[in-house]
């Protein structure tokens, strides 16, 4: 599967491990609750660790762990749930997270310009054929009115 990271199409190296699935090798992301529960094991994991954040999660809950995390996925249950935009802003602006923030789930290419402005730097589109649209949509606007992350 391919994704966009830092405005380039690349191969995805990460897999998400559902809460009741066994961990596997390689770069993996887990839910916030799994991270909390299995933190000790996960820290020793061979490979990179990421968290998949849902809108109802609280960024403050993982603020102290950010140093251990190479990826934070923002998992859109629907394109209308705007909480993840604030989560991204908080991760970058308040907690100074410097790793990858990736949008995943049900969102539209039409939202990636805003997402990039609040600090999202990677996009896993819902439909693989949307990759070129996502890439193009990152340049929807050349001007902005407010300060944000970017």
């Amino acid at each position: 599967m391919q994704i966009i990271k830092d405005k380039e199409i690349i191969n995805n190296s990460w897999s998400y491990i559902a809460d009741d699935d066994a961990l596997k090798t390689g770069d993996i992301s887990v839910s916030v609750s799994r991270w909390k529960k299995d933190k000790d094991i996960l820290i020793k994991h061979q490979g990179k660790i990421g968290i998949r954040l849902r809108p109802e999660d609280t960024t403050g809950d993982i603020a102290d762990d950010l140093g251990n995390l190479q990826l934070i996925e923002l998992d859109f249950p629907s394109l209308a749930d705007g909480r993840l935009f604030s989560h991204a802003w908080l991760l970058r602006g308040r907690y100074h997270y410097a790793g990858e923030i990736r949008a995943t789930g049900h969102y539209l290419p039409d939202q990636v310009f805003y997402l990039s402005r609040v600090g999202v730097n990677a996009f896993s589109p819902e439909k693989p054929e949307d990759l070129p649209v996502v890439l193009a949509s990152l340049n929807d606007f050349s001007v902005t009115y407010q300060c944000s992350i970017n």
């Binding site: 705007g82 909480r83 001007v143 009115y145 407010q146």
Partner: protein, 550 residues
Amino acid sequence: MYQYNEYDQTLVDERVAQFRRQTQRFLNGELTADQFRPLRLRNGLYIQTHAPMLRIAGPYGLLNSKQFRTLAHIARKYDKNYCHFTTRQNIQFNWPKLEEVPDILEELARVQMHAIQTSGNCMRNTSTDHLAGVCIDEIEDPRPYCEIIRQWTTLHPEFDYLPRKFKIAVSGSLRDRAATQFHDIGVHIVKNDAGETGFKILVGGGLGRTPIIGQVIKPYLERRHLLSYLEAILRIYNLFGRRDNMYKARIKILLKESGMEKFSAMVEKEWQLIRDGRELSDDRIEAIKAYFNPPVYDPDAAQDQTFEHYQLTDKAFSAWVKHNLANHKIPGYRAVFISLKAPDTAPGDMTDTQLDAVADLADQYSYGEIRITHRQNLVFADVKELDLYSLWQQLDVLKLATPNIGTVTDMICCPGLDFCSLANAGSIGISKEIHQVLDDMDYVYDIGELKINISGCMNGCAHQSVGHIGILGVDKNGSEWYQLTLGGSSENEAAIGDRLGPAIAKDQVTKAITTILDVYVNQRQDDESFLEMVKRVGVTPFKEQVYANH
């Protein structure tokens, strides 16, 4: 007024291009109806009963003659030769074709207009006082701050997918003409003891299904912190506003459920973390203010004698002077209300011919500027007394001089069942019928100030819950019924109207209104207004008469 620079123009042009691509993808089947919906809403495009409806922003209600001519042109070329002005100081077209909307938006962009964020769950057009800059009770002109807020809210990356729509209004005068107590955020310009300008911030007001009066969250905010404070409120709302039930998703419900103390503590904590480094500089404020400098007034304007003379000799002119003018802070000038409430027309509607003619009159008499009021009329803010008589004559020919501003026939009315797919009942027909029976202007003037607001459903686009008399369309087994309320107000003495009693059948509404007016005329004390009388006696005396034969 504010003029776009290259930067503003680029932003609006790029938005049009973006929407053109989106529309194309929808028409090609690459976007589903559900996916396209939030995108088109954020560009003002609804799907209504008969056709799409396009809502165009009137930034804080201020337009110029060139923009009016473009509206006339759009009405002719893409619509059925008319448009509609709304309570949010916006403009609506009821019959555009979906595939032509990008072209319409492109034509609008050429005259510095757009439809960005005029619907959808995002920050909407900021509204303000239609007499801003000229009224005699002004502390400071609110429009520069409106423009600052307009820019900040436009394409805000973090707050475009809020739990629900979000409306901000700014008032800069003692009398609140912008209904700020019924906005998600109300901003009042105030001065502190040192005479410095700042803001009193209200939050959590709103109309619709659950009308609530806003509460003061910050009695005095230094003006440089305006945007960081708004950001703090919006972030808390975006994170914690309810998303499980659209009827409980406005900020007023978050405020109600968490309590003011907890809510304001959250906002304060957030604000303390972001306030430094985001200040509005004095230079920035002054630069925006410069766009709203008053025009060069004629120093001899007050010397005119003819105005007095025509009032004495022409009764019709004098009635218009009495009802359709507002005082101006410069002697010899008046603000003129252009009534869009002629009998037999839908309140707030204008034809292409009227739009063009008003553009010409604005150029001739009021520095080319036109304002939209939240009661769906227009204002020429800077007219010389010397010019009033000829302006009036020309407006009269255009059927735009009905001398009824602030009277019972100056009704606010939503599109209702005639156009709106959400409606339970018609509203335009009701307003026309009321207008018809109240054709005796002496009676209308004797009643004095009385605001009737008519909405076709609970969404309350015509603000019926704050009408002195509110009329709300409800559905009763598939037929149109109306719920009446009395005693609402959106001004300083903000109040939500009390229910008169059970809903009334459509053919009884006008009768009920005339009965209510008769009760008032017969039982008022001295020069008590309708609103004052309702406050004094409650709804009972009205109720007894209206339901007497039921």
